[in-house]
Amino acid sequence: MKKLVIVLVLSLFSGLAVAGGGDVKLDSANIDLGDRASLQRGARIFMNYCMSCHSASFMRYNRMARDLGLTEEQVKDNLMFASDKVGELMTASITPAVAKAAFNTVPPDLSLTGRSRGADWIYSYMRSFYRDTGAVSGWNNSVFDKVAMPHVLYELQGEQRAVKNEAGHITGFELAKAGSMTEKEYDSAMRDLTNFMVYLAEPAKLVRYRIGAYVMIFMFVFFFVAYMLKKEYWRDIH
């Protein structure tokens, strides 16, 4: 019996090891959905850079305006490059056919990437592009090996080179050519972008915590009242 328990416990941990192994270590994005200024800065980066090729085709501009505390005029003048009606869905400037010709693949829709990949993945991915002369685009990424996407933000981050150990594994990056942002500024910008993409993946997240808090308060009061009622009725049962 004892032996069996040991085998079972060990097998549990080995199962965990299998599940954890092979994945790239991700940095914590540490985002704050309550930070509206950060969401707005993230939206600016997203609209300026990402949406040239990627759509967020489940999301409407006016919904974003409302949630981020912007007027429809502000969104129209500063954030809309791919369409001209605020009620429209966020569709990429590039058509799928052109994208296919340029990248040999259609860039994925980014509406739900914040949920399917998660915040830490996006944050790490956007900071892990490096120069790779062997790749078609001239870029590679340590989080997503052989990704078809070139480093769109290289003007901001600069160009990174991968530092590898003897086994050929990437251990870190060195900056080969400086960009317009310092490392700290770039990380902060990517945190804003990640923040926005997490919002984009589930706009209801901005309200559900608040509503949830009221619901919980009501439920605790209800529980107390129900409990007192039960006690009152059950007094004569022995």
Binding site: R115, A204, M219, F223, A226
Partner: protein, 457 residues
């Protein structure tokens, strides 16, 4: 005021002359006498009904906006999440409700195991319950395809392909279920029809029958004794109390406690760390992109583990010895020629099957047995007492092992089947089966305590 009450009384009489309102009210609530010693475990029956209602109501609202079409389904769910007022709430109530349904039902079943609620005269009540569990599983499985995420597609693809392991008719059967050679639009449409109309209707009917059966035989209780054996001069069980108002007010407390946990998940962690909503299902279904590992949702993983544990080696070193030993044990314990002949015949058929049919088929059989074996419990348990309170150490140990094994199998079902995880799942599979198969023996050998005359605290 008196006048209003008078008018209401007349109204009630008018209806009661034409429909047995008061009769039903009395038989099932005001004069249905339930044992007074129900404990924590007796909340889960009424809670299961509550979740059924939550699922039906939230489901109706989702159906108003959902589109069962492979080209539109995924986007329509996101439309519900973003553009439909309170759509996100309806969706999370429904997705969280699915998981809570199984939590509640598994705990409801565990209560039955502990207190022997499956024993006579409640065998039929228990069997109806097993059918409800099967219907619920079908309902959950088909509902999971509807969001048309990538895990929806691949989960359905894997589970439906299991039927292909059935000899001769397998391939035909999988095509019949899918309505296509792959999981596609035809599958989505029929699963929608079954999920929204057919199975809920069946579930509602089964739950009704379950309650009618319960009220015929009366509720069991933590002492496992029949309160109807001890009636007062008024014909009312001395340990019974009217369901209404006593258990209606008590169940409201259970409802409040349940809703606190349920809403905590709905509003704060609807994905529940990937256990209730999987990250892979936020990518649209794509037949060209197979997810790294395809995992069913947690409530199916114990059975998925039973399925995967069945390798070629397991058939030879697990099922063959198990069949031989069980056959010898039945032969030794039973002198009836008919039973002995039937046992040997069944064993011979199984043995022939083990060496002619592929292991995958036996995996499907095991997965089915994992649920069907519950239906045999009323006849497998030979203990003179019903409740775990008066059973001996053997039953207590067996039940404890069963619960641990169920949880381990559930966990292993979420992990890749490789290395020691396979062996662990195989050991657990044998233990799972033995809980049922050895029950006639260990419940006979077990030293029990005498049951009390009256219910205790």
């Amino acid at each position: 005021m008196d006048k209003i009450i008078d008018i209401m009384g007349q109204g009630l009489k008018w209806v009661d002359d034409r429909y047995p309102v008061m009769k039903v009210w009395n038989e099932h609530l005001a004069k249905y006498y339930a044992p007074k010693n129900f404990n924590f475990w007796y909340y889960f029956g009424s809670l299961a009904m509550l979740v059924l209602v939550i699922q039906i109501v939230s489901g109706i609202f989702l159906t108003m906006h959902y589109k069962p079409d492979t080209a539109l389904a995924f986007a329509s769910v996101e439309y519900i999440m973003r553009d439909v007022p309170w759509g996100w709430l309806m969706r999370y109530l429904h997705s969280t409700g699915a998981s809570f349904f199984f939590i509640v039902v598994y705990l409801h079943m565990f209560r039955g195991l502990m207190y022997g609620s499956y024993r006579g005269p409640r065998e039929l009540l228990w069997l109806i319950g097993v059918v409800i569990l099967l219907a619920l599983m079908a309902e959950a499985f088909m509902g999971y395809l509807l969001p048309w995420g990538n895990m929806s597609l691949w989960g359905a693809q894997v589970i439906i392909s299991l039927f292909g392991a059935i000899p001769v008719i397998g391939d035909m059967l999988t095509e019949f279920i899918r309505g296509d050679f792959v999981v596609g639009d035809a599958t989505l449409n029929r699963f929608f029809a079954l999920h929204v109309v057919a199975v809920p209707l069946a579930l509602a009917g089964l739950v009704f029958v379950h309650i009618v059966a319960l009220h015929k035989v009366g509720s069991n209780n933590p002492d496992g004794i029949e309160i109807k054996k001890n009636k007062g001069s008024d014909g009312i069980p001395v340990d019974g109390i009217p369901f209404h108002p006593y258990y209606t007010v008590k169940d409201i407390v259970g409802v409040a406690g349940f809703l606190i946990l349920y809403f905590a998940v709905v509003f704060f962690v609807p994905e529940f760390g990937g256990w209730f909503l999987e990250a892979d299902n936020f990518t649209p279904a794509d037949l060209l992109k197979t997810p790294a590992h395809i995992v069913p949702l947690w409530y199916f993983t114990p059975y998925y583990s039973l399925l995967r544990a069945c390798t070629d080696m397991f058939v030879v070193y697990g099922l063959v010895p198990l069949t031989i030993i069980m056959t010898l044990m039945v032969l030794k314990a039973n002198q009836n020629t008919m039973v002995r002949a039937a046992t040997v015949g069944l064993a011979a058929v199984l043995m022939l099957g083990y060496f002619t049919l592929e292991a995958k088929f036996w995996g499907v059989v095991l997965m089915g047995m994992g649920i069907v074996l519950f239906a045999f419990l009323p006849w497998l348990d030979r203990s003179p007492v019903k409740s775990i309170r008066y059973k001996g150490w053997m039953f207590k140990l067996a039940l404890a092992i069963f619960v641990v094994v169920f949880i381990i199998l559930g966990y292993l079902g979420t992990q890749p089947a490789a290395g020691p995880a396979v062996l662990a799942a195989q050991i657990c599979t044998i233990l799972y089966l033995l809980f049922f198969l050895l029950m006639p023996w260990y419940t006979t050998w077990d030293k029990t305590k005498p049951e009390p005359e009256r219910v205790t605290k």
